[in-house]
């Protein structure tokens, strides 16, 4: 039995597979730039036509062109709502988008008229233009620094929001972020380094498996000769 043909088969499959996986990861673009990670537990404080719900400060990590917000309306047919992104420090309007919040749908994606550049905290205001009541969906505060004001009053709630990238990064370029997140809520000795080491070890598992294969071929070859 030939070691060479077995190793060739192993290598062809392994290399082709790894190249395919890396290519797929390089082509797989991540649209979510930031999620506040607020669970959709309940409807928050209602804001009436003409009133606003404003939430911030929110640090935007990359350029953002869309915002996904979860809104409930209490009756058909819903309400016209505008999302406005304001610079937290100066209050200057950076971008806005408008849509009709139809009753029965919860997640609404606002396309913004301008891309919001990264690097500064923003406040997102949702304005209800009527004719119905509206309320953000969210939970009790998850991010202590983020405050939600509804009709000018500070609430003890936080709305669920996702910021969608203007230039979505690829899954491959997101690997450092993945490892940073995976290192949270782990034993104290686990850090980002652990996942880099594991990634290297997983690649190292291929030569180890090839070693197992060649040793098996050698052993069976010797047994056949006896």
């Amino acid at each position: 039995m030939s070691r060479r043909s077995a190793l060739t088969s192993f290598l062809v499959v392994a290399v082709a597979g790894i190249v395919a996986l890396v290519s797929a990861a390089a082509g797989d673009r991540r649209t979510v730039a930031l999620t506040l990670d607020v669970p959709l537990q309940r409807s928050l404080e209602v804001f009436r036509p003409g009133q606003q719900a404003c939430q911030g400060p929110i640090p935007v990590p990359t350029a953002v062109s869309r915002i996904q917000v979860f809104i409930g309306t209490d009756a058909r047919p819903g309400a016209w709502v505008t999302a406005t992104v304001l610079d937290k420090a100066s209050g200057r309007q950076l971008a806005s988008g408008k849509l009709f919040a139809r009753n029965g749908t919860l997640d609404f994606v606002f396309g913004l008229d301008r891309t919001v550049a990264p690097g500064r905290p923003v406040t997102v205001c949702i304005t209800n233009h009527g004719p119905r009541l509206a309320a953000l969906i969210g939970s009790t505060p998850v991010n202590p620094a983020v405050k939600l004001f509804v009709a000018g009053k500070l609430t003890d709630s936080e709305g669920s929001m996702l910021f969608l990238s203007a230039r979505p990064p690829t899954l491959l370029s997101d690997i450092p972020t993945v490892f940073e997140r995976a290192a949270l809520f782990r034993p104290g000795w686990v850090g980002v380094w652990t996942f880099w080491l594991l990634a290297a070890a997983l690649l190292g598992a291929f030569p180890l498996a090839a070693l197992a294969l060649t040793r098996a071929i050698d052993a069976d070859g010797r047994a056949a000769e006896l």
Partner: protein
């Protein structure tokens, strides 16, 4: 110890190294409590570790404050059902620091122990998992949880070794088929995932694999006393791990009877007495557990559901038909997963569905794996159908009884669940106790290939399994952390 390590064949040693790497990756990459029922299994193990008491006290919380704090901090309860919206990807170091700060208030670890869905499980697995819990005792809940998950790598190794021994016993000491059999058992993504979760299935799978090996020894070596005792002891250990292992009893009895029948007729009476003594290794531990459970007024096995509704044989046949074959127009639809359950549960779930079953690889991969399963199982069945000699027919009978018993138990339980609740609860991981036999089928087919093809096919299989692991781990990471 050094001599024991030196006696491990180089092929197996290298494979175990691969399995350790993959196992550690699984143990660490999955977010806390994100495998089926892990919250209840952790609560059970913690109750044993902290109070030396089985859970189920109706006056206590089902989970300790220590566990609730960790689960709430990491949104463990929100993630499984809203993975598309609430992701650990949104975790921040601040949330982690807040947990550590709250943990500084010393939340109670011992005020759990109330009723959970796992309370009817026997305690053996939880005691095994608690060795890791105690080893990490000074740490917080995440330290202890991940210590238990990492400890699960040892069970993954046991399953791999069991499959290696099984192939060696059945196919002879041929390293390539042994490597393929053990590689399948140790590198199947669902097996890696479950073995490194806090879940009694992890130990159950290892014990079933060893029981299949020992049963093969009992049959092929004509029921030697020590093999019979070992088989009975492993079967008992499996039963004290999870009630599903009662399905092993018919196979164990079959192996003992067949091994006995293969012995010389004139010694059978004496052999029967010896085997009778061997069965004490099965009966005594199981009866001890049943007696202990009775004394504690708790169920020794999961109660059969049914909701008081009468079992209808025609309905059961209809259910079975729809599980394995397309539904005929006149049959009432059974809500078993999406699509044909044979595919959606056994194939997809058997190869790998993760998290709380909501994390899947891309669909075409499952279609490919279904094709590979067919390419292994149908030729294996064709090879087995040509067996004519008594020892091999006896061996096939033993394996067939093991498979049939497990399937009958799973389907009857599932049908009773359906009667009681209108829903079905089968999952692909319930087939994992048979992973050794699937590996054996792959090894058997390999032995029938022309010699020049065996190495390349084994290389293809090993590389393919590792790639599948990368894809599965990547899918889990992508789902939770992007």
């Amino acid at each position: 110890m050094r001599r024991a390590i030196a006696s491990i064949p180089a092929t197996l040693g290298a494979l175990l190294g691969v399995v350790v790497i993959v196992g550690i990756a699984w143990a660490l990459i999955v977010p806390p409590f994100q495998s089926p029922d892990e919250t209840t299994h952790f609560a059970y193990a913690q109750s044993l570790a902290e109070r030396f008491a089985l859970p189920g006290d109706p006056h206590r919380h089902s989970q300790s404050t220590d566990q609730r704090l960790a689960a709430n901090a990491s949104y463990a309860d929100a993630v499984p059902f809203e993975a598309g919206v609430v992701k650990p990807g949104g975790w921040s170091p601040q949330l982690s620091h807040r947990y550590l700060s709250d943990y500084g208030n010393h939340p109670s670890r011992s005020n759990g122990g109330g009723p959970t869905s796992a309370l009817s499980n026997p305690p053996l697995y939880y005691l095994y998992a608690d060795l890791a819990y105690w080893a990490a005792y000074s740490g917080n809940a995440f330290d202890r949880l991940y210590a238990m998950q990492l400890w699960g790598v040892s069970l993954l190794l046991l399953t791999t070794v069991g499959a290696w021994l099984l192939a060696g016993e059945v196919l002879g000491r041929r390293r390539i088929p042994q490597l393929v059999c053990a590689g399948v058992a140790g590198l199947l993504p669902s097996e890696s995932f479950i073995s490194t979760s806090v879940n009694p299935d992890a130990l159950l799978i290892a014990l079933w694999t060893f029981a299949l090996w020992l049963g093969a020894r009992v049959v092929l070596r004509r029921a030697r006393q020590r093999d019979a005792v070992a088989l009975c002891a492993v079967t008992a250990a499996a039963i004290i791990t999870k009630g599903t292992a009662y399905a092993l009893v018919p196979a164990t009895v079959t192996a003992l009877v067949l091994g006995l029948l293969l012995r010389p007729r004139e010694t059978r009476a004496a052999d029967l007495k010896r085997l009778g003594a061997a069965t004490l290794a099965l009966v005594v531990p199981v009866l001890a557990w049943v007696a202990l459970a009775g004394a504690l007024s708790r169920p020794a096995v999961n109660g059969a559901p049914g909701g008081g509704k009468a079992v209808n044989i025609r309905q059961f046949v209809s259910y079975l038909w729809q599980f394995y074959l397309p539904r005929l127009p006149f049959l009432t639809k059974v809500p078993e997963g999406d699509g044909l359950p044979l595919y959606s549960l056994w194939i997809r779930g058997g190869w790998g569905v993760f998290g709380w079953l909501e994390v899947r690889m891309v669909e075409w991969v499952y279609a490919l794996l279904a094709a590979i399963s067919v390419l292994v199982l149908i030729p294996a069945a064709a090879i087995i159908a040509r067996f004519r000699d008594r020892p091999r027919l006896a061996l096939v009978t033993f394996f067939a009884v093991a498979v049939a018993s497990l399937l009958v138990l799973l389907h009857v339980t599932d049908y009773l669940d359906y009667l009681a609740t209108g829903q079905v609860l089968l999952q692909g991981r319930y087939l994992l106790p048979l992973v050794g036999l699937f590996g054996l089928a792959a090894g058997l087919v390999l032995t029938r290939l022309p010699v020049r093809f065996r190495g390349p096919v084994a290389g293809f299989a090993l590389a393919g399994l590792l790639l599948l692991q990368l894809l599965a781990l990547g899918t889990v990471a992508e789902t939770y952390y992007t």
